[in-house]
């Protein structure tokens, strides 16, 4: 039986989300690093796996899938551990999870990635963050986090009272942001802060962080 494979980069939030999902489901896999700096994802043979030239690609048996949220949704339905599913089997409850997956996608991630680009990636390349861009992105993210604070005042997690994919998708970007000046946006919102602490403490996420640390060593 061929091992499951993830083709991706430990610098890619999308890849890290898929890895978290694999660990949550206790699935064995091989990690095949794709060199984004060298543009490997924009050349063949990678392009034959994802014609849009993006990581990650997930290989499970004969099937290759791209788009991290599609991979994660499928994994949830296919390998959901009874009693510990990251999804719901009931379509009504799953609809609310799907709603908040798209909130992460359309509202949280764009300003989060912008901030990470300015505050994490630029400094690593010896570049100075652009203050105006940072201020704009912080303001946008703050509005989103206000919505989260209100939502988390009613529910333990974003979609409901259990941890689901909707929460998990936030992990890589929150992990990156709390190491920057943007941490204040999270600290100043009590329920949000509690939620962040809870999800960052998931053993599956800690395994992803360990993978990153080993690679940097």
């Amino acid at each position: 039986m061929k091992n499951k494979k993830v083709y991706g980069s430990l610098n890619s939030a999308a890849t890290l989300k898929v890895l978290a999902c694999l660990f949550e489901h206790d699935l064995d896999f091989d990690f095949v690093p794709i060199d984004l700096e060298a543009g490997e994802h924009k050349k063949k043979p990678f392009l034959s796996m994802n014609p849009f030239g993006q990581v990650p690609v997930f290989e499970d048996g004969d099937v290759k899938q791209f788009e991290s949220r599609a991979i994660i949704r499928s994994m949830g339905h296919q390998y959901g551990k009874k009693g510990e599913e990251l999804i719901y089997w009931d379509s009504r409850e799953q609809a609310v999870v799907a709603n908040w997956i798209d909130v992460e996608d359309h509202h949280f991630e764009p300003p989060a990635l912008k901030l990470i680009s300015e505050l994490v990636i630029k400094p690593k390349k010896g570049l100075t963050p652009d203050e105006e861009t940072v201020a704009e992105a912080e303001a946008k993210l703050a509005k989103v986090l206000d919505v989260y604070e209100a939502r988390l005042s009613k529910f333990k997690y974003l979609a409901s009272d259990k941890y689901t994919i909707a929460d998990m998708l936030h992990l890589p970007n929150i992990q990156a942001l709390i190491g920057t000046q943007a941490k204040k946006l999270f600290d100043s919102r009590p329920r949000l802060s509690e939620w962040c602490t809870a999800i960052l403490a998931r053993p599956a996420w800690i395994k992803v962080v360990e993978m990153q640390q080993k690679a940097q060593a």
């Binding site: 014609p51 849009f52 788009e67 499928s74 339905h77 379509s91 799907a98 709603n99 509202h107 939502r151």
Partner: protein
């Protein structure tokens, strides 16, 4: 139970939901949201959709927003009614999910930006950024090239049948072809063109076009 759809019948994201409801023959009622008057940013609407966007849906005590989450729900709830928009197996569903995500990440924003610059801003009496629009057009050419390759091997995006992945593209492509003068992106590509002719001639979509009274 009649599904309440809060939004504008001519806006892309509500159209995504309405197209799905029509495919599944689900009764709905449209509650128009006056975007020009800023209704979507008022407190009453923000209770429905905290980000101030349309659509928002109310189905009994179930309240949802994000159009692609809504269509996933109705496609699953009524899986046995009308066309199967989700695929017949977990594997098929995975492919539907993949191309739904492609539409959201690689297609939608380019169309949205382009249409905003060359259709919406001029309608508001303002100048659009033509350079930006051109950049989007060039990027869309590349995306449509990928679609052309893909559709040369399969009739629809996720396989041999019409699914949510195809449906999700309908509103944006309509904007491109009918409003933005970008029909060439479709018509210059044999398989994309055939696919667009097919999906835009579905009776559910044609019903929505009638409701929208363009």
């Amino acid at each position: 139970m009649v599904v309440k759809v809060h939004g504008s019948v001519r806006a892309a994201c509500p159209q995504r939901v309405l197209a799905c409801l029509l495919e599944k023959d689900v009764e709905f009622e449209i509650f128009h949201v006056d975007l020009d008057a800023g209704e979507h940013k008022r407190p009453e609407f923000l209770l429905r959709q905290p980000f101030g966007q349309i659509p928002a849906v109310e189905d009994g005590d179930l309240k949802l927003f994000e159009s692609r989450a809504i269509i996933r729900y109705y496609a699953a709830k009524y899986v046995d009614r009308g066309p199967n928009l989700l695929g017949n197996s977990l594997e098929e569903r995975a492919v539907v999910d993949q191309w739904l995500e492609v539409e959201a990440h690689n297609f939608n924003d380019l169309v949205k930006t382009l249409v905003f610059q060359i259709v919406i801003l001029p309608r508001m009496g303002e100048h659009g950024d033509l350079a930006l629009a051109q950049k989007c057009e060039q990027q869309l050419e590349k995306v449509f090239d990928i679609y052309e390759q893909h559709l040369s091997k399969s009739s629809y995006l996720a396989g041999d049948s019409f699914t949510l992945a195809d449906l999700s593209h309908l509103p944006a492509i309509r904007y491109l072809v009918n409003d933005a003068g970008m029909g060439h992106l479709v018509s210059e590509r044999k398989h994309v063109n055939a696919w667009w002719e097919d999906i835009s001639n579905r009776s559910a979509w044609k019903k929505l076009m009638e409701l929208s009274k363009y």
